[in-house]
Assembly symmetry: C2
Homo-oligomer: 157 residues x 2
Amino acid sequence: MRSYDAVDLSLLTALAEDPRATIAALAERLRLSRNTVHARLTRLEESGAFLAFDRRINPAALGHPLTAFLEVTVRQRELPAIVDRLAEIPEVVQAYGHSGAADLRVHVVCRDTDHLFRIDAAILAIDGVERTETSLSMGELIPYRIQPLIEAARRNL
Amino acid sequence: MRSYDAVDLSLLTALAEDPRATIAALAERLRLSRNTVHARLTRLEESGAFLAFDRRINPAALGHPLTAFLEVTVRQRELPAIVDRLAEIPEVVQAYGHSGAADLRVHVVCRDTDHLFRIDAAILAIDGVERTETSLSMGELIPYRIQPLIEAARRNL
DNA sequence: GGCTGGCTGAGCACTCTGCTCAACGTGTGG
DNA sequence: CCACACGTTGAGCAGAGTGCTCAGCCAGCC
């Protein structure tokens, strides 16, 4: 993956500030030509700078304001089948393979604690799942942010 | 927060498929009038349906391909000051308050395991941090997705 | 010096936007 | 049943934006 230069980083920052900014607006703001902005955006998209739009959709807006993480211990040989079953649960929004004591970290969203309880039970009911350890998120103390990384990258140019 | 109807959900899905789609294109695709799409998008934005664009920026593209989670135990009276210090570390992309044994869950991104080690050390050096338990993410087995929730919401209309 | 890649401004045909407007349909309350 | 409010629609308009091509320029490289 090629590294990004100052133009790339400025584009990312400008988009963070106005995700639906037009190419013309970005060009004006960054004092570049339209063609450059267009070409650079295309390259950023093609190089995988942008993750899926799903990440910007607020689960709370869909009626699932609670976030919880489950560390799931499984029979490892059955991991692929377990992941398939987890993927069938809509409230499971993400799952990572894990290096710690548990085998999986599962990120779920839910309506309330009763709902979480039922999702937990559904996960525990999956064949091969041995145990789960659930922790409820009590609020985003540092909201997700990438700009400090971009600033750091800019300083290291 | 008002609940969303079929039009809202369709818009979210259409945007997930093409985040930079124009209002005209969305209107054509969803068979709505431009004015309706414009009004609905405005309402979605105003109602908090969209989270920050930072979430779409790929840390790997910025040279930080590794993701790790730290469960951090702290002296609780010093939590606010600790959060301030954590926010000064660019590689800390998110931090949650926690309901489990630890007090904080910190999401960090890093270049490699050496880098992670140094970030862990920087966090442990913060006054009031008692211990951390770090686990390295070994890959996104279920990539972040919200569409199943949207489909479930659509079925429950 | 020649070549390549990237950036630029100009130009053009086409598309899009923001807004207003009148009309229509639906739901609600009296 | 009627009045009202709300939401959606298509039309219209002026202005903005886009995708693409083109020629020129500059910097870096061989």
